[in-house]
Amino acid sequence: MIQLAQLPILVRREFWEHRWAFIYAPLIIAALALLLLIMGLFFAVEIDNAQLFTESAMREFASNSAAQKNSLMRIPLLGLIVNFTGIMQIVLFFYLVGALYDERKDRSILFWKSLPVSDSTTIASKLLTAGLVVPVVYMLVAAGLQLLFLLTVSGYALAADVPLWSTVWGPAGLPALWTNMLVAIPVQMLWILPLFGWFLLVSAFAPRLPWMIALAVPGLIGLFQNYFSLMERLRMADHNLWMLFIKRFADGVLPMSLNITDDLFKDTVMNSIINAFSISNTLARLGRLDMWIGVGVGLVLLYAAIRIRARATDK
């Protein structure tokens, strides 16, 4: 049974232990992004042609069509999110593979198990931390950075004497963007559940190097699948586990990467990237079969992790 009343303090416990990864890391990313922005603006002022946000560029931007402005403005806003989601995925991977492993390694499991906290509550607190609370923290910092970015652009817009709303805030569409970021977090958690369940399971049983086992097992299975498929039918396996694994990881509902290519600025390509991150697309994920198969697999793996933790001790 999961004791809901204990979850808040247990999640706080995770933040005490992982202050750097959960709080300082996104702040450092934000600080670096801010530094780059300031440096960019500084150089833009230094070399006074073909800059991004000098007054003449601002006026040129304002003369675009509304649709173009929307697209152009959302590129940097989504780009800012990607900075955070990329690092967050790596942070959460290492957090989860260590979550039930480190306590066995440093023997603190003997202390944690002396508390009246059930194994399912412990694992629920770790899943909640990785699936909801950490993403909320990262997205809050990302939203703060988006706001700072738009305020900076607004400064230039004022100087260039172009209308603020139709040039900056309108095209940015913050309310829709932020709502989508918020809705995407729980959907992302469901989407990534099979991977998170797998990471926690490995964390619960791995005798050592849990991160390596977490990657090597699906990797090797995928390799064997392809090997036998090639031997038999001269083609790659249909449902290659490693490919499914990578797709789950990279193809989340939060923007994980912007495939910036040479033809990015052709309207169709740009629009497809920009439009990919929308509330309707996020919610559409809930209607997909592969989503719910993943949830089922995730729950089975989590149950196995709970059972193993119930028998786990320091050796």
């Binding site: 005490w16 306590e103 023997r107 603190s108 198990k113 508390l115 194994d119």
Partner: protein
């Protein structure tokens, strides 16, 4: 002759309730083919301070871990009427334990630990914990990592003693502490913490420091219980006789279970032997638990070997 006392005897002596805190029947723990605990059966009534004594690798820790729901086992085992593995989270509301030294997480701060305990443990008292800590040099902002080994033990003891537990299990609780703190700790355990409703199980290698507070003693060797007795009947059952060289032959004729030499005099340990007869040969003493332990452990064929106390 079966000389082990029954629970009824013990209850008559201590006037305690017949509430059983721990009941084990054919408890067994195996690691692969190595048997750590060999089908032991025992029961521990409420209100006792039990010393669990045995050499390294005897199975003490394995037996304790089974009682605390930290490891699987076979056979029957009930602690406070609960199954230690299946009902561990319920059981932990009423048990406090230190399973081993240095199990507190290194990264945590003292105040975080206290906050956590207070939030998840219904029987934890913040005030009592602060009271215990005020007698040490530990500060709320300290990280466990920065504390000395002895201070970490002090911190863990403070956390555990602040729990209003029905059963307290201490596995080598004072390892790494100086003699002053050890003495004070056991004094405190007896005078402040122990109230007759609580049950305490202690394992330690410094048995001489705890023997005066114990009510019961369990010796364990090679996964089996070789002695389970309350202190009073143990003192009646075992007698230490100190004799000079002249009386040695006569004393040996009475069949001592163990013999050693101290300052040129012979110290013989007898089990169930007529005290009047013995007193004619030399000085009689109550044996120290440590000496008794050595005698029983090095005497594999004594009848007490199989003397375990079973309850009906």
């Amino acid at each position: 002759m079966n000389t082990t006392s029954t629970v009824a005897d013990v209850e008559a002596r201590y006037g305690n309730s017949n509430e059983i805190v721990i009941q084990a029947h054919k408890l067994r723990k195996q690691y692969g083919r190595k048997v750590a605990v060999r089908d032991i059966s025992f029961s521990i009534p409420k209100g006792r301070i039990v010393g669990l004594v045995g050499p390294n690798g005897a199975g003490k820790t394995s037996a304790l871990k089974a009682m605390l729901g930290l490891a699987g086992f076979s056979g029957e085992l009930s602690v406070l009427g609960l199954h230690p593995l299946h009902q561990r989270d319920e059981l932990m509301k009423h048990i406090a334990f230190i399973a081993d030294v240095a199990t507190l997480p290194q990264w945590i701060r003292v105040r975080e630990l206290i906050k956590l305990m207070a939030s998840v443990h219904p029987m934890f008292s913040i005030d009592e914990c602060r009271q215990y800590l005020s007698e040490t040099k530990i500060r709320p902002g300290d990280k466990v990592k920065t504390l000395s080994k002895g201070m970490i033990v002090q911190l863990h003891l403070a956390l555990v003693m602040a729990i209003d537990a029905k059963l307290l299990v201490l596995d080598e609780p004072t390892l790494g502490l100086d003699i002053m703190f050890r003495k004070r700790f056991y004094q405190h355990l007896l005078e402040e913490y122990f109230d007759g409703d609580r049950t305490i199980i202690i394992t330690t290698h410094q048995i001489e420091e705890v023997e005066h507070i114990l009510t019961d003693l369990i010796f364990i060797q090679d996964g089996e219980i070789v002695l389970h007795s309350d202190m009073d009947s143990m003192q009646q059952r075992y007698t230490e006789l100190m004799v000079a060289d002249e009386q040695l032959a006569a004393a040996l004729a009475l069949g001592p279970m163990h013999q050693r030499k101290v300052f040129g005099r012979h110290v013989l340990l007898f089990e169930d032997t007529d005290q009047a007869k013995l007193s004619q040969l030399g000085e009689l003493h109550t044996p120290a638990v440590a000496d008794l332990f050595v005698a029983i452990m090095s005497n594999p064929k004594t009848p007490s070997q199989t003397a375990t106390r079973e309850t009906a």
